[in-house]
Symmetry: D3
Subunit: 316 residues, 6 copies
């Protein structure tokens, strides 16, 4: 460290220049433009106008991308603690489209933008990977899958079928909207718990014919028995981080005690992947301004993305 | 969102005026005045003069009330993930008396105030629900039950029978005070663990004839076996949030690794309710200035209150 | 705190009644109901749907009320460091109506609610004192003054006459809306600075005939010279806390260096009061989740309210 | 822990001894034991039982010591930006006695401990430098000066002569206690402002014959004119960090807008030093849990100590 | 934002393309590649291995870029509060090269990378605008100017000519290194204050023939008198954010009371621009993990960049 | 609490003086000097120059010492919730040597300092207990054990055998360095998980003949079965706090979901102690600036030290 005199002018990561990667993408993967090829394409939706309680998920995509960077993804393409030990080429398979352009105060324009963004990714033959944003955005994303029918799997503490507000476009109602517009072939809700689900919600979800596995029951199911409760795919998986226990996901607007942990999530993803392909997924409700400087909720969300991406690739 | 011209002057929550509920009560329930009717009455005790280490529980009642609000309670009167699925009319049963008036620097006056406040609630035939404050306040609350004998159940990492300080009115000594003044018929301590309990404390608690179930053992007991270890009621239940693991309850003065989680707590409450009625309870040691912006410890405490309230109602 | 009209009010902290004041009002003043008498009435508007950048002002009213409490207001009714040293009976003059009832996701209903709330206060002959919320709420508050013409004084780093978004109901546009709807007789903007005001804004404000005194010039004006630049009242004063330097008001969405300090604010309030009565005012854009645990922005906002309230009373 | 007398002091960082300084003292100065020689001796008083609003000053001494360390003091013994440019041997003149032993829940024992600690430093011929703790501790420190009369200079936003609480031993009453017990020859209060001083306080302080210079007036006085307002020493100077503006001292329980800045403080210290020797001083009300991670209030307090220490030395 | 060279760039937010700008650049300006044209080019240096006290400036570039975004820069190309009122085409003049590629644990490689990055910008005829990083990086940036001589202006609380550590490559020594290697024609240090500058430093800087204007004196100089103390350009300006008062810049490793404010900075920049062109500048020592959630230090740094950029353009 | 008049001048903790313990040691134990006797000696290594991602572990030793203090250790020398219930004389057995003297910017000097410090403790016949600092410091500590061979047990989410950086002295490479220099007789890695371990790392560790038990498998092993996988001692145990789940250890640079909890750790320590003596251990990667005000990661680290110290003593 003594001599800095002799400047051996070393080369940069792309062989010639001293600047780093130009685009802080998810995990450092390459930027995506309509027309590029990729198996999965990340898109951020920095939208929290549907939040009824504590806001901040508009900063979710930025936080999840930052937390996804612990070094160049290219150097670590395989799972270490999985039984299969099969290397999964995540660095090649993933690309990042950046954030959807939103105006925040113009919902009539914002939601079609989201649907169109997801549509461009689907048109390119890729799996859209959406970083929220609050949970209301799952509706415009699912819109992009029309008319292809998907099976909807919802990981959440809440039933999200709130119909008591006149407008009804909040983060408490995506399941109701999705069902009413016929965007899915089935509804499966996992991890439900707590006192924020009303008797009205419970009645609605029963009538909708949804499969509901509360947190208490979910903790006791192993992968095989859980798989039996699921339909056959293709699946769209929507992960609200308040599905997890506040111990691991404090940075969200409506945390609820008694949630699940990451090993449970890994089991669920494996069970889903057993039953059919995952054609789209989102991880929503990360609010970085509601957690401390550690950023563990954002890191958890990044790991959810990678786990689901690996499940997509393991099938293809 | 386009037209705000036509003002259809909508009505407010009480039918006539545009202002919201006048009183930020626990869960949005109605205010309570001596003379009002309610099955359970919440009272806050913003007191932390008994804290030997890190202060801040004087702000506990305010934080727990804020965290208890995720929407009008009236809309969600039943548990979703309970086996019984019986709707529990929490919104009708609960009322909130506000905070006990304290001077902080005048202990001779503060403690009789606390006892008198709990006494007014008992005189009205209601179950007092106390939000701490540090753990020393359990003593003046229990004073209000005299001469009715109760069985005392203490959820805590600490034995709280410290007798080494000359004054002895700290948050480390309520169990000793309660026992010495003969305020309870039995002592049951659940969740004890860690190095902050001295050999002296261990000897004292043995002589006092208390039932002690350490955290390690408690994790292995199911509801039925735990119930066998408990006396028959009536019970007073005192919940120190450091009973929980720091993973879920970091906002407290003396957190200790190896604690319990919310599902354990639900099992314990069910076991207690099996054995007799709960005639009073408190949730103490929430220090909001010691946690991050997420407020998950306060939210956990609010859920403890609701879980215990449901247990009270399920028996009545 | 003496008259809370109907309820069987228990006695105070003299020993007869153990509970404290039932309502955490601004400064501990008495609650206000339509029909009560008061010189000034505080109302909170927990609304931040108009925020284009960093949210959180929906928690502003709660934070400002908390920060306003450093002891019973009744004990300190006069200014210590003012030349006049005249005791001002703030505790008698102020009352608190609580928060306007909002649904957040239903703007068509929320804004008429705000207008109606301010209208009820005006009908009672009192000065409405509004705690924001983001700056968009000044428009529905001013709507309540129709058809009485007021002179509008705007303390802010921004010109707030943004017309580039299609919808135009953000916190960047209240001055444009107010002017276009003819809600004021004149516009005076104080403290303008920084790069977030576009050339387009500058042109618009010139055409609107507004008096604009940038931060740099404002720092050099004493009370007398400033008063000369103001019209004669009656005045509505709107205080965006980003008028202040980030040194003293970090808890806001778009802080800007080079702002003013509290002594400047005191001078401005005195200058306004010289020129005519203040018939309404608001303090907006306090976002408690964007500052640290100290809460100094909320405390500053509470002091702005008291300073303006004193100016109202000094004229009446 | 008993014998630290025999100094088998290992050698310094020159390679012979791998361990750093054994004692995290203020500024890295040497530890002090009764009997050691030093011109000024720092003592910490981690006491906040007198705090009526937001606690945390019990952690003040620790935070100020940490903030005082930006490198070995021995390397920087002189002021750079002072007119005199005379090197001041701070590293030689200062020593640190550690913290006074307190039990927190035993006030009858704690205050005599504080008085005795300050007394030991005075007996050794040194100037006691006290790090608070809340402002109530100034009383037991001044007790140690009996029967030597001192002139008391109080830098604070508050008059601190509260007599409305029955007990009266809070951080709002040291000036009243000091005056009533005849511990000083005169009272001078600098920086008073804001609404937390009641009319009752104002009357009391007038009757006590105190010199009061409010913040507004103080900002306009230069060193010479300020000196004219002061008595001739010897002085005891008590610095409450809420004397400063919340811009620079947010980490305190009752911050108040419109305060002073460090250059004002430097001018005041110079003015005092002109008029006579400083025989003791304290810096109190630093509450590190109420500020962010930057620790600037603690750093400011450390600089106040150094500035006052330099003033002591410049006279001797 | 129009030309990102090769890719089939989709259209903007007008409806045709749903994705936002692909690159979170400073202020939203266009990305820069060697060969592109721009008057000023921003480069980030996320390096804090030279920090002797509290780290975190490696996250400075990211935080400053985030804070620079309060809306599309293209919409606000002119200064509002300047006397000239001349629109400055910042959006056209600025481009952003991203961050220099660093390995952190390989200093022999990191510093030549920094020098080469700045060199590429100079070769393109642009002014390099460096976002630190700790202050040690000014040395490798200045290396890139060789053999062109510049006049070095240093805004800082510290003299930064530390020579007591054996290695000497810390953030406390850039002025010493720059002078010893003959990288500048003159040294001017502004804002020096506090006790962290040793007598040794003072002697060294005198011998080096530097012009030193301490904070105390600087506060009293107007633009004209300050300009007289400066040499004639070309200038390289290095801004350590601890030059500013901790009131406005708490997010830095070694804050020092008694600093300057943004209006002082604006005056200094004007004075420098009077005397000659600015050919390069940096803003360093922003440590976002040391401030609260408000991010005001990063915002201040972003405004310093814009102010200096405007000064560059006003001369060209 | 009323009378403070009669000063019964009580004695201090060492019988004579009012000052507390002079040295904030780990758990309040006595300071250690070379030559003193103790079974275990704590030493802090405030070093984070090897950190590739988020820094701050240089403040680890200070934070762990603070968190270890919840009262005088002498009062609580035994485990309450252990099967044996044997009192362990921790207060007698432990001493604290303070921090190793480091220069931070002079690695050639810092690492030999660390080795020499650990060597002095070993020469005194004590077990060195190292508080990190980042994980790179395990290498210089193990150097001190030469030529005595130890079995190395590594609790971590990462394999830490990174060889891709040219210099290779980061916190990602201690296992590689230790193995290449032949400092251990065997390598056992527990708790490995996540995507930050590359395929290259996996291959390297296989060739090195290490025993690797991933987190998933580790959760399923009881004490007896785990013991079978371990060699016979003597052991050196290195605990990276990211071994734990981010739920309990958020204050670290690279947290990873799916980690272990404290009861698992207790089981592992028991299993190790069954197989042979522990002759040294460290707890590293605590970064207090990355967690909230609760400090639970530091408290967890302090409990790890006590648990391991008890295991050392239970064998001797």
């Amino acid at each position: 460290m003594k001599t800095r005199e002799t400047p051996p002018v070393p080369e940069g990561p792309d062989g010639a220049r001293p600047f780093g990667p130009p685009f802080p993408t998810f995990g450092g993967v390459r930027p995506w433009h309509p027309g590029s090829r990729a198996a999965l394409v990340v898109m951020g939706v920095p939208y929290d106008a549907g939040t009824t309680n504590r806001p901040g998920t508009r900063f979710g995509p930025r936080a999840v991308r930052e937390a996804s960077w612990t070094g160049p993804l290219a150097r670590r393409p395989e799972f270490m603690d999985r039984e299969t030990a099969t290397p999964l080429p995540l660095a090649d398979a993933l690309a990042d489209a950046g954030d959807v352009w939103l105006e925040h105060e113009n919902l009539e324009q914002d939601w079609p933008h989201i649907t169109r963004a997801a549509g461009l990714i689907l048109e390119a033959g890729a799996v859209p990977v959406t970083l929220g944003g609050d949970h209301s955005i799952t509706y415009p994303v699912l819109k992009a899958f029309e008319p292809t029918p998907v099976h909807y799997v919802h990981l959440d503490t809440h039933l999200d079928c709130d119909t008591i507000f006149p407008t009804g476009w909040t983060h408490g109602s995506p399941v109701a909207r999705i069902h009413q517009d016929g965007l899915t072939r089935s509804l499966t809700l996992l991890g439900i718990r707590g006192l924020t689900n009303s008797g009205h919600d419970a009645a609605w979800i029963r009538e909708a014919g949804a499969v509901v596995i509360p947190a208490r029951e979910l903790r006791r199911l192993d992968e095989a028995r859980l798989a039996e409760r699921l339909p056959r795919g293709p699946f769209y998986v929507s992960v609200d981080v308040d599905f997890f226990d506040p111990a691991v996901a404090p940075g969200t607007g409506t945390p609820e005690p008694g949630g699940l942990f990451f090993p449970h999530f890994q089991t669920i993803v494996s069970a889903i992947a057993r039953r059919g392909p995952i054609v789209g997924f989102d991880v929503v409700e990360v609010s970085p301004i509601l957690e401390g400087p550690h950023g563990k909720t954002a890191r958890l969300a990044a790991c959810c993305v990678l786990e689901l991406a690996a499940a997509v690739l393991s099938r293809s």
